[in-house]
């Protein structure tokens, strides 16, 4: 790995760590500043940056910095949780397909190819528009604001597992006939044990790389869905839905449209850079990204 790439990777990791810490500390920062994110003050709309409001206030007089931090909590949570869920689904599918082979492999890989072939954003829009009440969820749950968070995590994980599934299947295929796996089987290890103890650890590096890259992709999907009004529902702030409001007041306050997008850009770039750096560090020859 060249020095420039290494330092880029380290910078990306540091950026992500800073963002996560800041987002996690949002309530503390809010307390220290003496504001509340829901606190609206219609007499102080579109305030320029000041000591009380470092990035000014929005169209309802809410503190922009705090909303960005709380939005970051949501966007990062969605990205990280959904990426881990997607990686778990993909790992299970890939392990089963690669290890058992045969019909199960054919079937699982057909499904994987089918999902890869789908136009993802239109599909996500349909999934996000489904009325949970019609699925039999009680209205109290179906309409609570947290549900929009769980739903977006679930649907992005549902479409995001295919890359990991392919990678894990490939690794499993090449590992299952290796001597150490056959030795374990000869010593009486069961299928589950072989997959979990002998194969999975060797498939870890592609999984880690793909998951890091997926965090960025999922944050992009979350932001566009929230922007379109189908993801995270206000008053819960996310970087995507902050841009929905900002678009409407683009003439009065163009900067409101600037900040959330820059944060998305920085976060996603950092995930992509970090993913690439980890990949080069763990395995300079393998290529995970399609």
């Amino acid at each position: 790995m060249t020095d420039a790439r290494r330092s880029l990777g380290i910078a990306a990791a540091a950026t992500l760590a800073t963002l996560v810490v800041l987002a996690a500390a949002a309530p503390l920062i809010a307390a220290a500043m003496g504001h509340d994110i829901t606190e609206a003050d219609l007499l102080q709309r579109y305030e320029p940056p000041s000591l009380a409001h470092p990035l000014g206030t929005d169209e309802l007089g809410r503190d922009v910095l705090l909303r960005l931090l709380y939005g970051g909590r949501i966007s990062l949570t969605v990205g990280i949780v959904a990426a881990i869920m997607a990686a778990s689904i993909g790992t299970v599918v890939g392990l089963l397909a690669g290890y058992f082979g045969g019909r199960l492999d054919t079937m699982l890989m057909r499904v994987t190819d089918g999902v890869i072939a789908l136009p993802l954003l239109p599909l996500l829009i349909v999934l996000a528009a489904v009325d949970l009440g019609e699925l039999g969820l009680p209205p109290a749950i179906a309409e609570s604001e947290r549900v929009s968070l769980y739903r977006i995590i679930l649907i992005t994980a549902l479409v995001g597992w295919t890359t990991v599934a392919r990678l894990v299947r490939g690794t499993t295929l090449s590992l299952k006939s290796r001597d150490f796996v056959r030795a374990a089987a000869a010593l009486g290890a069961g299928h589950v044990r072989i997959m979990a103890v002998h194969i999975l650890p060797n498939a870890a590096s592609p999984i880690i790389v793909a998951t890091t890259l997926a965090v960025g992709q999922i944050i992009l999907f979350e932001s566009v869905l929230s922007f379109l009004g189908l993801g995270i529902q206000p008053p819960l702030p996310s970087w995507g839905n902050m841009l929905t409001n900002a678009q409407e007041v683009i003439w009065e306050a163009p900067l409101l449209a600037f900040y959330p997008g820059v944060l998305i850009l920085i976060t996603v770039s950092a995930c992509n850079l970090l993913g690439d750096a980890i990949q080069e560090w763990l395995d300079p020859r393998a290529v995970v990204r399609r």
Partner: protein, 325 residues
């Protein structure tokens, strides 16, 4: 070859059939049904009227029965009427498809013109300042949210500078150049978000190609660096690049959906979004299926291109078994 093609087409049809059922089911799960919409449009409808309407339209029957009815008429070429346009679905779809094709082809061409030369240049000087800059730019391109980039383009070029129109296509009769002027911002937005991936593919493939012995041989025989890169390595580097490009078709379509929505550009993507938001079920269903078919065709082209360009690779047993991912 023909057998392989037939197999793939049958597989694709199966995917389309499954998708049509899934989408049909999902659309049934969206808020409200056509009768609810009629009631909200005409408050004088009584509960009994609603019941009767549901019976007439078959909404009281189980979902698979309704799907079977839809599929039967769809196979006969009848896709129903669009609720919001009050015209047959296919009639609505046609012109939108042409607009989307113009947007996507334009963006694809621009992205190629930026992406391939930048990728080749960066690959020919790995580790240089130019390479690092190209690398960073491509990271920004693959990481920028499309809708936000569109927003920034509108703020900069339409609101602040006032150079270009912020939206869609010209209203009323307009000349060719007026059309082009309206297309500049949407095409540029989509091209910018696509180009980064092409740069990365091209750079990686070119670096890989330049490692080969035949490149060293060509250099040793006195061919210039430019000639080795363009005349010898490029042909081989293009094989994986063409494949991933065809595979990125689905992503291009997703990008077009966002771009069209942001610029109020009357294409397929905006149609899908509007029809879902406006409870225009027939239209949403067919438009989504169309998008699926287009993506499947893109994937098939990717596989065929891979085989056609690299004679060492035979046709696989299944889709994508030997794909360069």
């Amino acid at each position: 070859m023909i057998r392989y093609l037939a197999e793939r087409i049958v597989q694709g049809l199966v995917v389309v059939a499954i998708m049509s059922f899934v989408i049909y089911g999902l659309i049934g799960l969206m808020p409200g049904d056509p009768v609810d919409l009629m009631i909200s449009a005409n408050p004088q409808l009584t509960t009994e009227d609603a019941e009767r309407l549901r019976r007439i339209h078959g909404l009281d029957r189980p979902i698979w029965e309704r799907y079977a009815a839809w599929a039967t008429s769809a196979l006969q070429g009848d896709f129903g009427y669009s609720r919001t346009f009050a015209r047959p679905v296919l009639e609505v779809l046609g012109p939108r498809l042409a607009n989307t094709a113009a947007l996507m082809l334009g963006a694809f061409a621009v992205a190629l013109m930026i992406g391939l030369p930048a990728g080749i240049y960066a690959a020919s000087r790995p580790g240089s300042i130019a390479d690092t800059l190209v690398n960073l730019a491509s990271f920004v391109s693959i990481s920028v949210p499309t809708f936000w980039l569109a927003l920034m383009m509108i703020i900069l070029f339409a609101v602040t500078l006032g150079w270009l129109p912020a939206s869609g296509l010209p209203t009323g009769p307009a000349g060719f150049w007026e059309h082009v002027r309206h297309l500049i911002l949407p095409v540029a937005t989509l091209a910018i978000v696509e180009a980064g991936a092409y740069v990365r593919y091209m750079r990686a493939a070119m670096i890989e190609a330049l490692r080969h012995d035949y490149v060293r041989t060509a250099r040793a025989k006195g061919a210039s660096r430019t000639r080795t890169i363009l005349g010898h390595a490029l042909r081989n580097a293009l094989v994986p690049v063409v494949t991933v490009m065809a595979l990125s078709f689905g992503g291009l379509f997703s990008g077009a959906l966002v771009t069209e929505t942001m610029f109020a550009y009357p294409g397929m993507g905006k149609l899908i979004f509007d029809s879902i938001m406006g409870n225009d079920y027939n239209l949403a269903l067919v438009a989504l299926l169309f998008a699926t078919i287009l993506t499947l065709v893109g994937n098939l082209i990717a596989d065929l291109a891979y085989v056609a360009l690299d004679p060492r690779i035979g046709l696989g047993t299944g889709p994508g078994t030997e794909r360069a991912r």
